[in-house]
Subunit: 502 residues, 2 copies
């Protein structure tokens, strides 16, 4: 007897269909749309969000869900049916608590706020974005108060949305376990007396050649361009417009090699997860990524654990030299690999090295908590940002476009999202350790340009499951142990030792 | 009292909003989507078409319309209100006669058929497309039988959809008035003994430079890139994704200058119409183009009446020479202008000269009539095409991809659409004559690079009115006389005389 369960799957697919159209118009907005289209685009997105929400909260949907739960009351723990019902119930209960008007208001506001952020960033003027941030915070507080369980804080509600089961308290534990070791590690690197020359990464790298090399790298790692494409956008991202259409973007600067190259590897990691989800399950929880933390683990996996390894470049560096004979022809492979692994406090999160990166996240995690409680006002963010960066890394941003205006997330209403980046780093290191244990000498494979065994390992242990298991359970199943910060710290300590002798 | 009328405007805008989302996903499909996205895209489009249709045919919409009609019963003939009610009633009556299932089936079928056509054309194999054409014809016959007034033929129904008020009988009169003079004109040109050397147009024109020059030309004519963009697609087109977002596409061949350049001017003409519609009326009949014939008149206006004129090139040829010093450096302006005005029977409609072009349309007009009555089967189209081309122009297509597979239209279900191209040519010549009468020496303005007076003339006499007047009435108002083939024939005879002395 699966008639009612099947009807539920159909209803879930209908909601997914609307959301996939929203993904198309959103991708177009960020990558293609001329400025004149902005106003109407906000209306289009508001309508689509309202429609998806209406479908997901229709009484009929609720009845279908309840009937499917009754029908499948005996489904085994850990079964696919149990997972689908759990995820559908969670999503439905959240959706019905949100008034459609609030969903629409949030969508419309963030559509406008995105353009205000682009504008503020270009003008290096946070005051152009502050009113929008204030409005977004107020809407997110409203959203949290609709969704909160008794005693649950507003920020906890937002975190749980992106990483099911995660809490402020638990994240504070995790960041507590990272903070001192990382500040200490960065301090030892800085006082080691060793520097890693990286000036060659700022030479002249023609954008065309960067694009071609990024494309080749993505293909090498297994990104399928028949089911995706690579474009340019203000803020790099990856998105799926449907099964078989998972796109990535990046941005190019002629004198910054690493930005686009590692950006492409990062988004490729996201897209490999999407391309690895079971297409036949599309639109149901079994065909969707399990959480943002796991998603980020996939991007950081390919960007850092693979893409900054010595063995990857043993294979790939000749290609890079051929692409940029003037810039890299006289650079030894060892010096190049050291340069892309340099550790140094810097302003921009997406350009930060692996060690300082999580301190950038900690900064945002702390500011977000203060914004959500009201302890910090939007107007005071620039100063608070500067002070926090100074406290963690000993530097201040030169300008606000390199400080509090650098990230797109808040303009999109994504508060509580940043911590998933650090979860991603933690998961990625732990998954890499486990893959290495299962597959043997990965470095030897990388040197031969073989990445498919590793990709298949991720497909088997992570991608194919969709949302069948909860995020932390999935990591535990894949690696044999509960998630921990230790593999990440061990990885970073090895790097600090290798390149700085500390 | 306009409360009910205003409610109708709101309801119309809601339908337009859904259709504008369809325009986004359709543009993306044709310009950006990777092959893997095709299957899901068909589902997205089917849902959007179904949703737009459901909105437009909802009982509530019908009530709103009827109430608005009662409220505005005293509105003057020729008033805006009368026009809105006329167009809304026409669209509603047609929509309610079409079952949603048929609309959805047509949308899904044509989405798949489009890809089958691309594939068949690439493989030069009409048998890959024939089953889709058969299916589309059957669906269009179904559609026509839902919509037909008593005694109205299926093809008449389809024509009226694209060009309100137009009929097969009237088009047969028009083509009757064109056929002999055009066959005669082309015959005299061919036997004049004069040829216009055009080999320089097949020299090496770097695609990058073509794109830059096309972009400059579009800008020169007044296309606003802040409210549009220029991209590449298999079949060039123009579309509006909303007010303030009217996009155009083209395709480049390194050794064919004219294709992309005049293609860009053509699509620019369409987009200038869209950009000239009153944005405040967007989503209502007063903010929409009046008919395909008028739309095509705008594209042909800028492509041919302006873009192939001696005076346009007096201004623009130095730019073309700078863009292509190797290809055009040794070509005299006079020889270049003669080359782009050469008359010669050829296979491809979109590359045809102004004189033979309408014979290409006549061919399609006749085949479509036969397809719709069932006298011609999809499998027999390649042979019928070849015979018809031979009868009109004395040549046969070398291959089917240059014959019956050359046009996208049928794959999209657009039967009855081609005749609007000839209407466009007729209207464009008549509008140009009238503008010249009103504005004085246009050639002198073109030589100075001044195109805004002409653009403003079109804005005043055509664009700003939206659908306020019926197509033929709009032309009559703009030019002072009823539409006639004479200005077009006079224009073509002048050209034949100028370049061939006949």
């Amino acid at each position: 007897m699966t008639a009612r369960y099947d009807r539920l799957l159909g209803a879930l697919r209908e909601v997914a269909l609307v959301n996939s159209v929203l993904a198309v118009v959103d991708w177009d907005e960020q990558v293609m749309m001329p400025p004149g289209g902005a106003e109407h685009r906000a209306e289009q997105k508001a309508w689509l969000a309202r429609t998806a929400h209406a479908r997901q909260t229709a009484a009929e949907f609720g009845d279908t869900l309840t009937e499917a739960e009754h029908e499948q009351a005996d489904a085994a723990d850990g079964s696919e049916e149990r997972a689908v019902l759990r995820q559908a119930r969670r999503a439905y209960d959240r959706a019905v608590k949100l008034p459609g008007s609030l969903v629409e208001e949030l969508t419309r506001t963030t559509a406008h706020a995105h353009h205000a952020w682009v504008d503020a960033r270009k003008a290096n003027d946070p005051s152009r974005f502050a009113p929008w941030l204030t409005k977004i915070i107020a809407l997110k507080q409203q959203q949290a108060s609709c969704l909160a369980a008794p005693g649950q804080s507003a920020y906890d509600v937002l975190i749980d949305e992106f990483e099911p089961g995660e809490t402020t308290a638990h994240l504070n534990e995790i960041f507590g376990a990272l903070r001192t070791p990382l500040v200490d590690l960065v301090g030892r690197v800085m006082s080691s007396g060793r520097t890693v020359p990286a000036a060659m990464l700022a030479r002249d790298f023609a954008v065309d050649a960067q694009e071609a090399l990024g494309r080749e790298a993505a293909k090498t790692l297994g990104y399928d361009f028949e089911r995706g494409r690579l474009d340019v956008s203000v803020h790099p991202f990856s998105t799926s417009l449907g099964p078989g259409d998972s796109r990535i973007t990046t941005r190019y600067h002629a004198n910054r090699f690493s930005d686009a190259f590692f950006g492409v590897l990062h988004e490729t990691g996201h897209a490999l997860y999407e391309q690895g989800l079971p297409a036949a399950r599309y639109g149901t929880p079994l065909g969707e990524a399990v959480s943002l933390g796991l998603h980020e683990s996939q991007s950081r996996f390919w960007e850092n654990l693979v893409g900054r390894s010595r063995s990857f470049w043993r294979f790939f560096y000749p290609k890079a030299q051929r692409a940029f004979p003037a810039a890299l022809g006289d650079v030894r492979e060892d010096d190049f690999v050291a340069a892309i692994n340099g550790i140094r406090p810097s302003e921009i999160r997406v350009e930060a090295d692996e060690a300082t990166y999580n301190l950038h996240i900690l900064l945002r995690f702390e500011l977000e908590q203060a914004l959500m409680t009201g302890a910090l006002k939007a107007d005071d963010v620039p100063a608070a940002w500067s002070d926090a960066l100074h406290g963690l890394l000993g530097i201040r941003p030169d300008t606000d476009d390199r400080g509090c205006l650098q990230d797109v997330h808040w303009s999109g209403g994504a508060l509580g999202y940043f911590p998933t980046y650090t979860l991603g780093n933690i998961f990625s290191a732990q998954l890499f350790e486990a893959a290495q244990r299962d597959l043997g000498d990965l470095d030897a494979a990388f040197e031969r340009g073989e990445f498919s065994p590793l990709r298949e390992w991720l497909r088997t242990h992570v991608h194919q499951h969709g949302q069948r298991y909860l995020p932390r359970d999935l990591v535990t199943r894949a690696t044999g142990v509960a998630p921990s910060v230790e593999p990440l710290l061990a990885h970073l300590r090895r790097k600090a030792h290798e390149y700085y002798g500390v």
